[in-house]
Structure formats: C-alpha cells, structure tokens
C-alpha cells in the first residue's frame, strides 16, 4: 500500500521557460529508459517476486518507490519549463484569444505541439520524439540475476541519456532536475551492481556508465560532494531488509561506501502552477469559480502564490 506527502524529492529551480528543453526532458519521463519505465519495471518485479530472498525484493522495490517521486519531479519540471504560451502573458479570466489574436502563435512551432494542444503546458506520458510510453518496455523476466542485470542496463542508459540532456541546455530549471537524476541514477547503478556483487560479479573499474569525471558538471558536483550518489532510501514505513545489500564498499571500487536511509534528508515544496487562461486551464469561469471557492477556504492563505514556489532555506545548495 502506498502513501504520499506533498513534497518534492529535489527543488524546482526557477529560470526562463524553454519548450525545447521541456521536450528533451520528456525522454527522461516517458522515454523507453525514462522514469515511467523504471517505476513500473521495479514495481512489477517486486510485486511478482518469487522466493524468499527478501533483501533483493526490498532493494528493487525501494528504487521503484523512489521512481514515482522522480516521475513527480520531472513532471513538475517540464510543466515549469513550458509555462506560459510563447508571447502571451494573460491574466485569469482575460478573454482567451484576446478577440481573435493568435496569442499562442509560436506554440505550433514548438517541438511537440501536444504540449499546447493536448495538455495545458504540462508534462505528457511520451518521449522526446512524441511517441507514447509503451508497456512492452517493462521487463520482468522472473529470473533474479537477469532482472538485476536488466535493471543495471536501464539505470546506466538513464544516466547516459541525462548526461547528454545536461549538455543540451544551460537552463537552470532543466539542469537542477537533470543533475539530481544523474546522481540518483548512479546510486541506482550502485544498488543493482552491488546486488550482483553479492552473487559473485566483480565490476572492477567498468562502472558507473558512462565513465567520466562527472564533477565537471558543476550542479552534479555539488550533489556528489553531498554524497547523494551513495545513498539509497527504503521509503518504507514498516522496515526493510535492503541494507543487507546496500552497505559497505561501492561496486564502483572507488573507495566510497554505500549508506541506506529511510528517506532523503531533505524535502522540498511543490510550487503552485499558475492558471493558463489561453489553455482554458483550469478553466473555471466566474460562475464555476464562485462554486469552487465556496467550498475551499484555502485561498486566503495565498496572498501571493508566487511566493510559495520559492524554495525554503536549506543546507544543500541548488
């Protein structure tokens, strides 16, 4: 059974909208090696798990639970990168189209017109080429050694693709999220590689994939310095046997050690997404809005909704 808190696993850093960057990041969400797949693959493997080797099941499932929070994080990041129809800065209840003006004129030139026609400048369950996510990508072979190797390939590909996306834009909103995922994908490589190490494999210097000095990416370096690439979280409210695997020396054989925690040391607020009247989102006209307001007392706490999206003070720099 699953639970939720209204917090993000990494902060949304504000910068200018960039629909092309949003489109590239879709690969990390709905692509064949994106977070929707990692989430579903690990959940299916843990739900279908056979035998009594609980530490392996708990390890796979813990990563799967984290991936739901990654889907949440990427989704919010894409939404932030898309926000605001190019060339349009309307207010709520302002007339859509402003009497016929093509206020979303530039939208049809963007990489995936679905971000504007189908969704309301929000994330979609598709990849960077616009293909919908496909269930055939979820692999659960039933065989433990094979599943662990498949998962390692999946995390390696995830990290490889995100390193490439990092190099495609200097947008801070994009990079904050992508850098976090690069670091977490290394932690997840460590998780599956370590599990294979318990079954005899010695990785020597082959990991992580890709093999390069990731501290050259400044945003990544800050997270590496904080050790986030060597932590794994159980996200379990009732105990877990994962630590039996995820502890001791990292399988990268670089002198670092693995640490199992219940949850990340920090959590971050989820910024409110402003209304987009040109998208009819949420599209409550004054009559309907009055009905909605009547049941919600929540609005009085929102004198300045923009402020909510400012990240609270914390020790880790972003």
């Amino acid at each position: 059974m699953f639970y939720h808190v209204q917090s993000l696993i990494n902060p949304i850093v504000l910068d200018e909208p960039d629909p092309s960057a949003a489109n590239a990041l879709q690969e990390g969400l709905g692509g064949q090696f994106g977070e929707m797949r990692t989430m579903m693959q690990y959940l299916f493997q843990s739900f279908n798990f056979r035998g009594d080797a609980a530490p392996y099941r708990d390890l796979i499932q813990s990563v799967g639970i984290e991936e739901i929070s990654h889907v949440e994080l990427i989704s919010k990041t894409i939404s932030q990168l898309l926000d605001g129809a190019p060339g349009y800065k309307g207010n709520k209840f302002e007339t859509p189209g402003k009497g016929g003006k093509p206020v979303m004129d530039m939208a049809k030139e963007q990489k995936n017109a679905h971000h504007f026609i189908v969704g309301a400048q929000g994330s979609l369950p598709v990849d960077a080429a616009g293909n919908p996510w496909n269930g055939s990508w979820v692999h659960d072979h039933g065989n433990l050694v094979l599943n662990l190797m498949d998962n390692l390939v999946l995390e390696a590909t995830g990290r490889l693709q995100k390193c490439r996306i990092y190099e495609m834009s200097s947008n801070k909103t994009l990079r904050a999220t992508v850098s976090f995922l690069i670091v977490r994908d290394e932690a997840h490589q460590a998780a599956f590689a370590k599990a294979l190490e318990t079954l005899g494999v010695d990785w020597n210097k082959a990991l992580p994939i890709p093999k390069f000095d990731a501290t050259k990416f400044p945003e990544v370096k800050r997270l590496l310095d904080a050790g986030i690439h060597r932590e794994q979280y159980t996200f379990r409210l009732d105990g877990s046997e994962m630590e039996k695997i995820f502890s001791g020396s990292a399988p990268m054989n670089d002198g670092t050690d693995l640490v199992t925690l219940k949850e990340p040391k920090e959590a971050f607020p989820i910024p409110l997404a402003p209304e987009r009247p040109e998208e009819f989102a949420p599209g409550l006209d004054p009559e309907l809005q009055e009905l909605a307001d009547a049941l919600s007392e929540f609005k009085k706490n929102l004198a300045n909704p923009k402020k909510v999206s400012v990240v609270k003070k914390k020790s880790r720099k972003v």
Copy 2:
C-alpha cells in the same frame, strides 16, 4: 514523495490456479480502462494541476495513490491465478524439464503464452488481448471540469468491465479482487461525480454506472454492507483538503453519505510467491543460493512459507 508499507489493500483469497481468469483480469491491470491507466492519469493530473483549487487536486491525487495499491493488488492476484505450470508440481532445484519432459506442455495453449514465456507466471503490463499498455490512454486535458468528467467515464468503464469479469468465473481468488474493485470503482465514481456536483451538476438517478442491484453479487454485497463504496482515503502523511468535497450525501442520490478517511481500516499480508523452477524463477542454483542466503537471515523466520499466505483474522469477511 511516495512511501510504502508491505501490506495489501485487500486480501488474496486462495483457490485453484486459472490462467484464463488471470488473462481476463489483465484487462483490469493493463487494459485501456485498467488500474495502470487510472494511476497514471490521476497522478499526471495532480502533478500538472493548475490554479489554487486544492481540494480538487487532493481528491484526484488521493484516488491516484490508491490506484498504485490496486496495481499491486491485481498484480498479486494474477500471479496467484497463474501459479504453477499446468500439470507440473516441481520442487526447487529439481531439474527443469525433468530430462526433456514437456512439463509446461499445456502452457502454450493458454490465452497469453507471454505469461509463461516472457514472465514467470506473473502479471504483465498488457490487456486481456495481449496488447501492451499505451501512454496515449492517459488523459490530462488541463481543464478541471473536463478532467473530472473524463475520470468519471474512466471509473464507470472500469466498474462495468469488472462486473463483466465477475460473471466470467467463480474462482474465489479472482472474485475477491474483482469484487473489491467493483466497490472501489463505485467510490471513485462518487468522488468525481461529487466534485462535479460542487460545480453544479445534478446526477439524479443516472449513477452509478452500470446501474443495477450489485448486492446480487454476494462478494460485492459483503463489501457494500461494510460501506466500503462510500469511503475514500487520502493516503496522505501530511494532511489533505479532499474532505471539503468528499463528504455529505453521495451523488448517487440513494440516501448514503460519503466518508473521508486517512487510510483503509484494514490492511492485509502480502503472500510470498513460491519459486517456479520450470521458469528458472528466481533461478538461483545452489552456488548462487548459498551466496544469497549468506546475506539474508530472513529465511529462518520462514519455517513454513505457505503459512504466510494465510490471511490473518479480521472482522470483515472475504
């Protein structure tokens, strides 16, 4: 951010394996109107939510979180229904194939051979016709009224299909899960219909869909008597505004009232799935098993793993 407990939202009731029933139930998992879609649709809608009408976002998201637990429940049910190659009752480490005997001879005649070739007698992210789940089925229009109506159609279709599946088998494993989902899909219809009611719609006697006397299904009746069709859970560790919508009279206009709870009143153990040596699942041979056992002390607690799958005492009858 998401969390997990190792419990099921409804018990797995034991009965004979029935691969055809397992295949029919795949529609409820990976079908166009199954739980993988409801889960992703509501999560995307809540992650992309625009505006400050928090009670609506919290309502949509609460159902989305519950659907992850439904995916878990159906996945376990399908695995239980498939368990054991027809005609084969092997022990662990027994020779696969028994010196060339076709121990899974009947498997190739089953509805979806992938249950035996691709998976190891476990659930798959596909529908009852073997088609993989497709991301295009996830709808997030951005427009609140439209999203609520789309969600209502989705829950109505889910309940309709599960009522049909109920009539296809008297297998107790199948019916326990399907009956629970029929009842929860009615609760979810109530959630989205009630939200539309707050925006002015009066449903009169049109709901729920399908409209019939569901107490004629005995397993469903027990759950209706327990009022489970009028509860909704927040699954939130940090508070929720959902109750502002989900309370008062049910939109079915049948004299019942809606109740918001933090979580279901009961949780149920997750049965261990036995090894299937003919599937090489998990496939640890003695050498590898020894390595796995060395790190796990967990086995000593499992003198009789079969016992774990017995459902603990509880007040609600299943």
Copy 3:
C-alpha cells in the same frame, strides 16, 4: 458531404452464434487489409486528389463510399455471430450474474476476450489477432498510377483473406457476408485494374487474385450468377464521371462487361440487436427505461422484435 439510409448492402442471414468465426471476421473489419482501411484509404485518396482527372477520383471515391457500408455490414455480422454469452439466455432486467453465477464462464476462453469485456458482444476496430487498427496502413501516395496499383493490391489481399475465412466455417451468418465481400472485392479489383488499363496496362489472365474457380463456393456462385462482381455503384446523389472508366470489357479478359449503377439493386433491413443484460447493454434499469420510453413511441411498433430481423422477400437468393 455524406448521407445514410437505415439499410444494409447485403442481408444478415441467421445461424448459430460462433465467437471464433466472429473473431476471424474481425480481420475483414479492422485488419490491415480490412474494410476500415479500404474505406479510409480511398476517402483520403479522393479528398487529397490532385489534378483534373475527375473520372479517376470519382471511381476511387465511389469504392470508398461503398466501404463504409461494408464496415456497417461486417460490424452487424460480427455482432450477430457473437450474440449471447455462451451458456446464458437471460431476459431483460434479469439479475446480472444471477446471484453470483458465472453466466459468462465460457467467455474468457473465447479468441478475443475484448468482445465480452470491452465491447458488449459487438464488433471492435481490431484485427483477428486483437491488434487495434492503425492509421499507418492508409496509403495515399499522391501519384495516380501508384495509388491505383496499391488499391489493386489491397483489394486482391482482401479477397484472398476472405476466401481463406470462407473455408474456416460453414456458419451461414459468416458465409453470407464473406461471400458478398469476395464478390465485391472482385468488382473492386476490376475497378482499379480497369483504371490502370486506361493507362496502358494489359492484365491478360493474371486477374482476379486469387485465381481459381470461385463458383465452387456455392454462396459465391449465386452472387456471380447475378453479375454482382461486374457492377460498381457511384453512391452519388449528384452525378459521377466514374462510368467513363468502369464500362466495357472487364480487365480479367474473361468476356464479361462492367456496369456502372447509382446504387445496388436491392437493400436489406438492419436487424435489431437484442439487449444483453449480462453485459449491461444497453443497461437501462427500470427507472432509466421509463424515462427513455417516455420520449420514444417507437416501441409499440415492436410487438415481436425478433421478426424485424427476418429478411424481407427479395428476388436474389441468399
């Protein structure tokens, strides 16, 4: 702009339900070479037609319009073949599930469970392997000679597959429809082959595909004797130039002549489909039914709805 009459292009002949035959016939509806494709392919080709060679456009479009009526015919045939859950003969408003009995127990063993879970024993836009129809199958190359050849291949494949389906069942409902389509696909081969003949190609004895003595199929023979394989209809309310192509000797070079007509010489009643309470179709409970009846005076004309499905007297034997 399109119009409709509530008549079928060929009669539905009654026989026993046969879900496997229904599934095979799906290939003719939603398969890669089925009627949904022929309809969309010819309509797209005629809508996108370039240049002033109107007789070719009118010929292509006339076949396209006919294909909509073929979709209608196959759809009704499949529905007829599926009608009635195996083992269940319920009455309207009878309790679905009959107090928990698995009245559709055999349904989950049928070829495509979607016929019973997703649809209510009606046709689906899928092929005989359960794959959904796909837009990539629609070919409009823009080039006239190529389009005509592609269309000829399409009709040849349609006829080939239907000849194979004919051999798979002696069910009269299936064979009446399949035989009609075998004959019409030959007419359509004639249409496109004749158009290519006007551009210089001589087919000699290569057509039709497949090449065999079709009079050995008795139901086909009756239609051939009536000359239905050498007629083509314009289905145009405002004139057509098709006859400039579709007249004179058939391109099969067998001594027959082509005849252009406005519409088929006969039309046939559309049988009413009975309610299926176990499918909740249409699922109007007494309260809703009363509302529906209040607005419809139509029921009084239906003392015996079964009778409506009896085919009216006509000269052509089926």
Copy 4:
C-alpha cells in the same frame, strides 16, 4: 448504406500556405480526440447498438455521419494549408528537381516531413505529433449512459483542442475550418448532454466545455449568430427519430433551443487541388496524360480551374 454529394459542409477560405498550421490541424483529424475517432466511435456505437431505444441510436449515428463530412473538410483544409512546396512554384510537366536544384529544400524543416515525403502535400491519418491514428481510441462500451458520457467527453475535448488551435494562427484557411468545428462540437455536446438530460441529469451551468465567451473569436461569433451551434442534422434519406431528443431547451441552460434539420442549410464547392509536379502528383507524364484525357471530356469545362475554388454566393458570411 451511405451516399455522397461532391460538396463541403463548410467553405475553404483561401489564404497563404502554412505547413505548421496544417500540422496543428492534424490533431483535429487524426488525433486521439479528432474527427476520425468521432466518426468511427459513433458509427461503431450505432452499428453495435442494442435494444429498441431508436431515438438514441439515431442521434448517435447522425453525429457519426456528420463526422465523415468533417473528415472531408479537415482533409481539404490541411491540403490547402500545405499546398506548394515552400520556395517552389513549378508548372505541370516542368522538370522535377529542375536539373538537380533542391526545390523542396525547406520541406525537410517542416513539422512533419511525411507531409512532403509520404503524402503529396495532403492530409495524413496522424496527429500533430506524427503518431498514426489508433483503433484503441474508439470506445463502444455497449452501455447507453456510459456511451453518451464518453461521447460528451470526446466532443468537449475536441472543442477544447480546437479553441487552442484557433489561438495558434490567424491564417484564414485554418480559422474558417477550426471555427466551424468549435461551433459544431458545441452542437454535438448539446446532443449528448441533452440525451443524458432525458435520462435525468441536470447540467446546470457546467456546459459547454470549455466555458468561456466564445463570441470573442470573431469567426466563431458569426456562426453562433447564425445559430449553427444549436442545429443538428439527421443526414438521413429515410427518416430519423432523433428529433425526439434533439429539441426543446439546450442543456447549456442558456435560454436557447435545439433544432433538428435533415441537413445543413448550405453546401459549398470542393476546390480542385492543383498538380504538384515536384511531388510527382498525380504524376501523369505526357504519354499517360494523353491516355487519361482521351477518356475524360471533363477538362474543357475547366478553362480556369482556379475559379472553381471561389466560394459561391451565400447568405452566411465566412
């Protein structure tokens, strides 16, 4: 059985080519909520209709027939918007490529290269992201209330997406078609909402979706003023019971009334599409053209083919 007239349901208004606008409009044709789906969904629902509630069947089918004409209209509009390879104004029989010059150099930069490589600057059965249309999007649940609600959601989404597309371009060719569809999608919302009203639902002020003052779109306003959003056509040559539902006050509860007509009050000419030699469309070289001309006397009526595409006089302004 279906019939056709060579007329459009709304005029094609001439403006400059705009391939990006053409691509956006593909969503309205081959998208998940586009006209190909509405057409197939309503036709399947009416062909598979169970029970004797003929007015509901006739209503659903009438909208389905209209959608075929919408497919025709959008197809022609897209073709018009694409017409002419960017940078190329060739004459018929002029040498393709002009001795090696890249006369379609800009084509490979357009949103969907298939418009130029696969089709000959004509419409395709795909959405605005280039994904082919998929049969799984066609919903026929068999249950009447559910089908009506699903159809309402479909029309609401169609109108929402078209309102967004309207805002993406001021191209007159695009806007004439999109505005017409916005208005017709409102009529279709009225049709399905009214049918649900006969079964007890009261929509109060929730409709239409999206809820906004559509008269702010000038092209839409002209059609609203003409009342086209409150008409529905039977397109039946042999009578229909639709009017039993589609009459009286609109379910939008805005004081307007619904009107059932046999067909639209006006019809419009279908403009000829000029040849595109650089696409080899239709690609008849002089030898083949001579053969084609020999059988067609039609050309002498086309002294000035451009003139044919001028819209005839009519009372409604476009």
Copy 5:
C-alpha cells in the same frame, strides 16, 4: 555487403504439425527478445560503431550476421510446424473449399489466426501474443560498455525464453531448433561477457543465464557435447579481428575455451515447402503454372519433392 548460400545453419527435423508450438516459437522470431531484434540490434550497433576498436565491432557484427541465419532457421521451423491446415490434406489444383466445405475449420481456433488468414501457414514478424515486431526494441546506445551489457541481457533473455519453450512441447521439429538456439545463445552470452571481461569485469559463477544443468535437455546435451556453445563464427569473407576477444577461457569460468571459426562446420539443406491450395499459395492456376513452368527447367529435377526435405547424412546427430 551481404551474401547468401541456400543452406540452413541447423537441420529441420520432421515431426507432426503443431500450430500451438509454432505460435510459441514466434516469440523467438518476432518477440521483444527474439532473433529479429538481435539481428537488427547488432547490425545497427556495428553500422553505427564509433572509434577504432575493431575487434569489438567485428565481434558484435559477427553475431548479428549469424542472427540473420537464425531468422531463416526459425522461419522455416515455424512454417514446418504450421504446414497443412488441420484436417485437410489437399492436392495441388484441387478445388479450394471443396465445393463449400470448411476445409480449414480448425484454423480459426488456433492461437494466432493470422498464420492462416494473413500468411499461408508461414512465419510472421510477430511475437507469441500476436503483437508486431517493434523498432523501439533495437538498442544502440553508442556507448561500448553499455552496448555490450545490453547485448548480454538480450542473449540471456533469449536463452531463458527458449529454455521455457523447450519445456512446452516434445515436438521434434520445435525442439531441434530451440535446442540449437539455447546453445547458440550461450555462445553469444560468452561473446559479450568475454568482451566485458577484456574491460575488467569478472563474472565468477553468475553465467550463463539461466544457471542450470542444461545437459538435462537431451537435444541440448548433444550440441554441448559437440562444443557448439563455445564456438563463434565470423561469417566474414574478408577477415575479422574478432578472435582477439573470442579466444581463451570462457567467461563462465567452467574450464572450457572459446574457439573462433569462419563458419559452422556443417550446413544443412533447406526443405521445399509444399503448396497449400486451400491458402491459394502459391496459387498458380493451370494457365499461370504453364507460364511459370515454361521458364523454369528446374522441375524435372524434382521427381519426388518430398525427398528433398530429408536431411542428408551427417556426423552430428540431431
């Protein structure tokens, strides 16, 4: 550039037709981890190979070339398993349908009706659930270590699935081919694992996947005894650097050694497939046959075509 000889890489062993076995074997041909994917994945990786590490490129490509021959072998095996419509043993030119008899009555009950409707009892590019092969399954990450690991996972899954298929039937036609593929997939695991070993990984006892005593499958044992699991072939007419990797001790660390050869030591005849008149395959009627015979002198060598399909004497037992 590629070349061909008309020989098979393993013999077709004759046994009774078994359409269900044929369907299961489709997973090995058109499944996500079947030979069509291995072939395309390794060819793409070798065509796109970057850098100067030729031995790795040659190794990957050699396996890719072998996979084309595996596609050939599985295709022939499936055709052999399907051959002959159940219940029908017609002669050439015999009347299809035998005057209306449903000579393929059982065909519509088989696992994939496409084998009989779409193909003429031959192999299809689909998996065992009837889903068409999909290009997204081809992985070429560009990164050498990752590609090698992905390939190892692919071969491991291929071998796992084939071991499961082996257990599903004792049909000799099926088992001869499946056993050969089990052994070759182990050789290919050795190839990619050895390449990773050259980059530092030590596999200890984790390989092959699945880990079990494969000599318990008698047909497999004969091939293992012949050492075919430790050979790899270059299939290169102009030299290869593969042997620099594929030599020395096997990465399974079981005391065996790897051997690089130009090609397999034996080749086997390709059996002629008999005509299937009920499928209209090849469908040459007497007129067309006469034309075909006129150009072919080949028939006189075929007094008894059945004989050609008998496997010639050879040292390795099958």
Copy 6:
C-alpha cells in the same frame, strides 16, 4: 546462411553535416516503405516460399539480400550526416560538457532529438516522423502473383519517396546515397515487373513509377549511364536461377535489357566513424581504453583515420 564483407555497395561522399537531411533519410531506412521493410519483406517471402518455382524465389531473395546492404549504406549515410554535435568540435577525452557548457545546445532543436539523446549521432530504426519501424508492414501473402505486385508497389513507393527526398537537399552525402537508391529501386521495379510479365502482364508505358526523366537529376544520370538500373545481383555463393527471369528486354519497354550478375562490379570502403566524446561514444575512458588497446594491434595501422574515409579510385564517378 548469410555472409558479409566489410565493404559498402555505394560510396559515402563527404559533405557538411545536415541533421535535417539525416532525418528525412530516416524514411528510407525505417519508414513504412524503407529498406528495413524491403529487406524483411523479401526475406520472409523467400523463407516462407511454397512450391517449386525456384526462379521466382531466387529473384525475390536476391533483392532481399541486397536490401541488407542498403540498410548498411543508409545507416552509414545518416551517421555521416549527423556527425558532430552542432557547434561542438571536441577531442577525445575532452571533458564532456566542458565544465558545464551546453556543447550540444542546438541538438534539442533538431528534427528528432533521439539522434542525440538515444543514439550517439547514428541511425535509428525509425521513420522521418520519429515513429519506430513496425512489423505489420511486412507483407507475405503466400500468393505469388500478389506478392510480386505488392513488391512492385513497395519499390515504386520507395523510388517515389527518394525522388522527393532528393529534391529536399543538395547535400552531397545525402544525394550520393539517395541517387543510388533511386536507380536500384528502378532495377527492383524491373525485377518484380518482369516476373509478372512472365505470368502474362504487359506494362506498356506505365513503368517505372514515378514516370519522369530521371536524367534531370545529375547524380542519377551518371548511374543510369553506367546501366546500374538494369542490373540485378544474385549475391549467392552457390548459384541461383534468377537469371531465367531477369534477362531480356526490360518491362519498362524502353529498349533496354536486363542483366543478371553475381554481385556489383565495385565495392567501396566503409569509413570509420570518429568518436563523439560529448555523446560518451564509445566512451572508453583512459583506464578502459588501455585495456581495449592491449588486445587490439589494429590501431597502429591508423596513423590518420580520416584518410580511411576517402573513397578509393574507381571508374564510376560519384
């Protein structure tokens, strides 16, 4: 059984990178009418071939074998057109991202971001709209006349689309490959049209498709002058009966004659693809590179790897 030589069937001509041209060319590789389909379609048809008409099987298969070499050629051409991230000219082992610089900033604006995120600037098994290749496009009807006609349509469409792509760019790398394919697709049209001619069809002046003076494309003219459009190769190491069909006058009826050869008169070197450090391709860091170099002596022959990609002297001009 298949073999390979490390040579190309046509030379790669060097020019500037052009990612849009690369994307357009993807249609010729992974499109519905591209080389992946022709290759698989002809191989399946020849593997599944029924009957004893060996010359037809050999003809179909010979074209299929050639198509593998076309896949190889297009793959290399696309890789060449993509090579080098826009704006980046890094050296091996240079820091990816150069300390955080977005060195692939322009990549996210290219037509298919997958070329840079998923692949490492190499070809993909997708079409020009980014859709993955689909197995349903492979047609093997079993019927010989129909298969030949289908193949002719396929080659005609391939040539049509490549003629359009030719007109989209003057890039020499693109045009060298596209022109070769235009000419070969004409040879393949000749092959299938001639086979139909042996069965009675007379094509008169309808072929080739498209019908125009292809000598107006200068690169095509050079190949036509060399007669490459009238040659077909057996690619068989053990004899073929293809020449019985492919000889005598061309079915285009233009006075030319068909010539059967064992293989093309010339072969061309395969250029090495340079490393792309920003893609981590192949991504061997100094530690791993040292291991790879240790086993390869091949590098010493590569003083200047650029030189290898220069096309060797030959008589035919490109």
